[in-house]
């Protein structure tokens, strides 16, 4: 019974945070909404016996990643002036319809394949010992691969910060680029009408499948 109450409270918090993330005009509010969702997900990890993953979620996601996000938001300025006009006509209604279709498909398809063994088996408690034994045993090769991945990411970030966006932008000249933009905008309109048709057909197809 306690678990039901905890689940209900934090499920509402998670969904509210996610909705805040999507609808807030101020990026800082979006970040705070995502933070609420991440903390709620950490609570769900604990409820599912994933204690170490919950700690990592709070430390890395809620701590490091969200701090990085807020840092960048502060760095490039809180830009609330999101363009109102839509390049793709009816983008918002299409998104809402597609989202509803996706949710219905996932829920309907999920009912068939979700594991429905009743109750918690309780054999898989993710303490640090259990997780590390598994990590440095079965999952050794993927673990070492992440080392490579993180190295590449760090080098790429340093390279981006050092070599990209530097004086070369002067060479192209701003006037030329503006002219090019105008031409491209003209082309965009044609393409967007085609794209909208394609999206519409896609929605019809998905509804038929569902």
């Amino acid at each position: 019974m306690t678990e039901v109450a905890v689940f209900a409270v934090f499920a509402v918090a998670a969904v509210a945070g996610a909705v805040t993330l999507v609808v807030a005009r101020n990026p800082v509010h979006s970040a705070v909404g995502l933070l609420v969702t991440m903390f709620s997900v950490a609570v769900f990890y604990v409820l599912n016996g994933a204690h170490f993953v919950a700690v990592v979620q709070v430390l890395i996601y809620a701590g490091a990643v969200m701090t990085l996000f807020l840092f960048v938001i502060m760095l490039i300025g809180v830009d609330t002036s999101e363009p109102r006009e839509e390049r793709i006509p009816f983008q918002r209604p299409i998104v809402l319809v597609l989202g509803a279709v996706l949710l219905a498909l996932v829920l309907v398809a999920g009912r068939a394949v979700w594991v429905i063994r009743g109750g918690h088996s309780g054999t898989a408690v993710g303490t640090i010992e259990e997780v590390s034994a598994r990590l440095f045993g079965t999952w050794m090769l993927p673990f070492l691969s992440t080392m490579l991945l993180l190295t590449i990411a760090a080098v790429g970030t340093v390279a981006l910060a050092r070599y990209a966006g530097r004086p070369r932008s002067v060479e192209f000249g701003d006037d030329d680029r503006k002219d090019g933009d105008d031409d491209r905008k003209d082309g965009d309109d044609d393409r967007n009408t085609v794209g909208e048709d394609a999206v519409g057909e896609h929605a019809v197809d998905e509804e038929a499948e569902g």
């Binding site: 019974m1 678990e3 039901v4 499920a11 969904v15 996610a18 993330l21 999507v22 979006s30 970040a31 995502l34 969702t37 997900v41 769900f44 990890y45 599912n48 994933a50 993953v53 990592v56 890395i60 996601y61 490091a64 990643v65 960048v72 490039i76 830009d79 999101e82 363009p83 390049r87 998104v95 597609l98 989202g99 949710l103 996932v106 999920g110 009912r111 979700w114 594991v115 429905i116 009743g118 109750g119 088996s121 054999t123 898989a124 993710g126 259990e130 997780v131 598994r134 079965t138 999952w139 993927p142 992440t146 991945l149 993180l150 990411a153 790429g156 970030t157 981006l160 966006g165 905008k185």
Partner: protein
């Protein structure tokens, strides 16, 4: 009444859908990025719930690897956003039509 793994997976599906809608609706590159993080979190929740229902630890290990990949992705992605902002002084993806997109 008991909270089974299916409840967590349904919640994960809802969060994933909200994240996908946010990715399609918003034009601010940072908010789109945060929507991707939300989708990753929803998938992680499903992993953990499924692993708990099946009584295996591998779901949690998969979540750890998703987190590592997400951290790498965030560092590179935010570096790209900052670089683009230094050149174009905007965080709106609609302005970035340089490749004809």
């Amino acid at each position: 009444m008991e909270v089974t793994g299916g409840w967590y997976m349904a919640l994960g599906a809802v969060l994933f859908t909200i994240g996908a809608a946010g990715l399609l609706l918003r034009r601010n590159a940072l908010v789109m990025f945060m929507s991707i993080e939300l989708m990753l979190n929803a998938v992680n929740l499903s992993f953990v719930a499924a692993g708990n229902e099946l009584g295996v630890l591998d779901g949690q290990l998969a979540v750890l690897f998703v987190m590592v990949v997400a951290a790498a992705e965030v560092t590179v992605g935010l570096a790209i956003i900052v670089t683009v902002f230094r050149r174009r002084a905007t965080a709106s993806v609609d302005e970035l039509s340089g490749m004809g997109g």
